[in-house]
């Protein structure tokens, strides 16, 4: 056995492939804001799931089907964008968020934004100049924050500091997604940065 084969065997033993882990393509579509299977989503929408100690990803959440500009009552709080011209509050139309219930359990709610993008679906537009520094203010302690421009060919998020208040120097315009995650789940905020 040569070294590469030995390495392959050792790595396989260290982290074996788990073939029965839970795939959930509908969850992918929801996170992306697509509604490919409305009938199935409607069925899921009728279900409120009580979590108990189960992790949020293991259960089908209740699904909203609206662009929640003002923030859903049980969803993540809105974020604020600060620019040189003022502040604007934006809701998260795409999220999977858990809420504590009175009996000590939790329910999970997910939202599906439908069509989003610059000029679409109520996506807020922010006018900024290249080089301007904008601030994102979150109302929950984030575990991760990233900003992506999905229409540019590479949707990978630009890592931002894991803080409630982060800044980003504008280096491009267009449709942007602020990816966030916190103790209660994940939330994406959509905004269109328009040339000033």
């Amino acid at each position: 056995m040569n070294f590469e084969q030995l390495l392959e065997r050792e790595l396989e033993q260290a982290l074996p492939l788990q073939r029965e882990e839970g795939r959930d393509w509908n969850d992918v579509l929801q996170r992306a804001g697509f509604r490919r299977r409305p009938r199935r989503l409607l069925a899921i929408a009728a279900v409120v799931v009580v979590l108990g100690a189960a992790p949020a990803y293991a259960v089908a959440p209740r699904v909203l089907d609206a662009f929640t500009e003002s923030g859903a009552p049980e969803g993540p709080p809105p974020a604020t964008i600060q620019t040189s011209s003022g502040r604007q509050t934006i809701g998260s139309p795409s999220f999977s968020w858990s809420t504590d219930r009175n009996d000590g359990s939790s329910s999970v709610l997910s939202a599906n934004p439908g069509e989003v993008g610059c000029g679409k679906g109520g996506t807020p537009t922010i006018t900024v100049a290249l080089g301007e520094r904008v601030g994102f203010l979150l109302e929950f302690p984030p575990r991760s924050v990233g900003l992506s421009f999905p229409e540019g060919g590479d949707p990978s998020p630009i890592p931002l500091p894991r803080q409630r208040a982060v800044t980003w120097r504008v280096d491009r315009h267009g449709f942007a997604v602020l990816w966030t995650s916190g103790a209660r789940g994940s939330a994406q905020y959509f905004v269109c940065f328009e040339r000033g």
Binding site: A14, L29, S144, V145, P150, P157, S181
Partner: protein, 161 residues
């Protein structure tokens, strides 16, 4: 020319066929099985949202691996910061066997070498796909893996009685 529906169908097929591999790579990079699933979901959501922007000038799978690696790096970085502040408990990615030594040795490699090793052995990608996923030349992949193998051979010889 690839149609939008074609790309979506291919993304779904790739997700269903290779999901365990995506989760394993994310877990190797992040160290958390729970976050690994979340990262894979987010990475595919990003790919779905941007599938119109996929130009079809390289393997779709490599494009998705690149998105996944970047999402996982983001989460790993945030998790490392959280660990510094005591917000999360660092869980070992290994099962505690001798394999833990090799994972520790891989974890000590420079980032590009570490990514190349994981993409080679956990994603089963060829050199061309690794190059596309990491945005480097195929020759650089070869040199990177050669350097990684040399470092790992040395490190594992030290821990093996």
């Amino acid at each position: 020319m690839r149609s939008s529906d074609d790309a979506m169908a291919q993304l779904e097929e790739l997700y269903r066929r290779r999901y365990p591999h995506f989760v394993r790579l994310a877990r190797a990079l992040i160290g958390s099985p729970e976050l690994a699933h979340d990262v894979v979901q987010d990475a595919f959501a990003a790919a779905v949202r941007s599938h119109d922007a996929y130009r079809g000038d390289g393997p779709l799978e490599a494009w998705v691996w690149r998105i996944l690696v970047n999402h996982a790096r983001l989460r790993a970085r945030e998790r490392a910061v959280a660990a510094l502040h005591g917000d999360v408990a660092e869980a070992p990615a290994s099962n505690g066997s001798h394999g833990g030594d090799v994972l520790a040795a891989v974890a000590a490699l420079p980032e590009r070498q570490r990514l190349a090793v994981f993409l080679r052995y956990y994603a089963d990608l060829d050199y061309r796909s690794i190059a596309a996923a990491l945005g480097i030349q195929v020759g650089t992949v070869s040199a990177t893996l050669h350097a990684a193998h040399a470092s790992l051979r040395h490190a594992l010889e030290e821990v093996t009685p």
